[in-house]
Symmetry: C2
């Protein structure tokens, strides 16, 4: 394991510990006579995760000179959208997962109705946070962020991708269709993480650069996720592995083959790094993060 | 049946036919290789409803001199939030309803996974529409609308109320607690419908007036809903009736008694009308609408 890898694991760990406090600060407090919803939202946040999307957003925000108090709010917004999508995806009617990051999923720990409502509440919370004047003094910027996040997460973004993914279990898909599916399901939120700092900085000329970066990074991330599903160990990955294969579902890996998939993800990461190298020393963490995405074992 | 009642039924019918076209214009078009999500969203919109929240919003917007092209977008936003809440509430893990307005509910017509995703997509769509510059030239106004709608629909609003309602099936509640529950579950979206036009008009001094109006109207609406559950006929109401009673669930009606509940809702409507009477002739439709809320049989 080289030094860069140790550094990035430390960065992720320090960031996620700090960022968890940010997330918790935005959660609703117990209201009236029931605190079940609040407890369930808190549980989902505490189960944690690598907080990759907020970290990418924060690193690009640093490059562009955005204040942490502003980028943290948008990062919380995207993480709450990500949290809601995981809670809903884990439901019995969807992917039916009992385990997430080694812990019982929300509907197992609480119940299905609570999990549905937790997801719904996380989504509203994301937009509530970003619309607030503390996110940016310019309300035009806040509206742009909300519009992009809503598109990225809705029917023509993440939710549309999840629908295609469910349909994919019953169809034979070409590689091109799987690329489309993954661009929506995973790519769109990665895209938002990468362009949100440009919107916050009102540097619209950088938007295309970071959009390109995100499309390569997002696809590499998805290929690695599929590889972990094939090769990963349940204890390390923290959720059921081999699931796609068991369902006879085609993935980028089943169509490309393991070796080609590894090569493709490596190429994509190299291309993504080339895009951000011009930012020099300031992009170091982001480059390490890109390398980490295909080296991780969970 | 008096003339006012005939007029308001006509107004509701004309408005809902016209407004359905507005809603459909905002729906996503089939993407890539699956149009199941789009078809399911279209189905939910077509199954319809009285569009009471958009109509109230539109009527108050007329009183305050807002252009239809602006108020229509906010009205679509609140209706999509309402649609998502109905689709999710009907799920087996929640209220488990097979029928809505005389038609199969979304998870019956399609499947549970689709219904979960349809709800999620409707929620994003609401915020996407309102954040767009076409909603209002002043982005501060758009951000205020989004912030209010997110709070009204989230954990400290509608979703929180729905959670309390599910919990209520297992508890004995006081009348005060049921008032709190209903204020969140139904009242918050009514409140948004009534204050959104004040935000659009940037007439913040009228906000308190319409907030007062909404709190009385929302509660009267809920009492009438509970009365319909006790006294209504499944063919007229279009969904299962007698459900709350069967579940041993306490409602405003079970605690107040039928006669007191009828009186309470009538008093609330009279009080709500007094609040808007100063607007004179311009408030006529809104007054008829308030009266309709407790006279309706579905």
């Amino acid at each position: 394991m080289n030094n860069d890898f140790i550094n990035i694991e430390k960065l992720i760990s320090v960031f996620s510990t700090d960022f968890e406090k940010t997330l918790i600060s935005f959660l609703p407090k117990a209201l009236f006579f029931s605190d079940k919803l609040d407890k369930a939202m808190y549980y989902v946040v505490k189960v944690g995760g690598k907080r990759l999307r907020p970290l990418i957003l924060s690193e690009i925000s640093s490059i562009l000179g955005i204040k942490k108090e502003n980028s943290d709010r948008v990062a919380a917004g995207i993480e709450f959208i990500h949290c809601y999508s995981l809670v809903h995806d884990d439901l019995p009617a969807m992917d039916d997962d009992d385990l997430r990051r080694g812990h019982p999923t929300c509907h197992i720990k609480f119940d299905e109705a609570t999990a549905i409502l937790v997801g719904d509440a996380f989504q509203s919370l994301a937009f509530e946070i970003i619309s607030h004047e503390k996110t940016h003094e310019n309300s035009e910027v806040r509206c742009n962020l909300i519009n992009e996040l809503a598109k990225s997460s809705g029917a023509e973004g993440m939710v549309g991708g999840q629908m295609l993914d469910l349909e994919a279990e019953k169809k034979t898909l070409t590689l091109e269709k799987i690329f489309q599916l993954q661009r929506l399901k995973t790519g769109e939120l990665f895209r938002f993480s990468c362009i949100a700092p440009c919107i916050l900085a009102e540097k619209y000329e950088e938007l295309q650069v970071f959009e390109n970066f995100s499309s390569k990074l997002g696809l590499a991330f998805q290929i690695k996720d599929d590889l972990l599903d094939v090769e990963g160990n349940i204890l390390e990955v923290g959720k059921k592995t081999g699931k796609d294969h068991k369902q006879g579902k085609e993935t980028l890996v089943s169509l490309l083959g393991i070796e080609n998939a590894k090569k493709k993800s490596k190429d994509l990461i190299e291309e993504s790094i080339k895009i951000i190298e011009p930012f020099g020393e300031k992009a170091k963490n982001l480059i390490d993060l890109a390398n980490f995405i295909i080296s991780r074992n969970k």
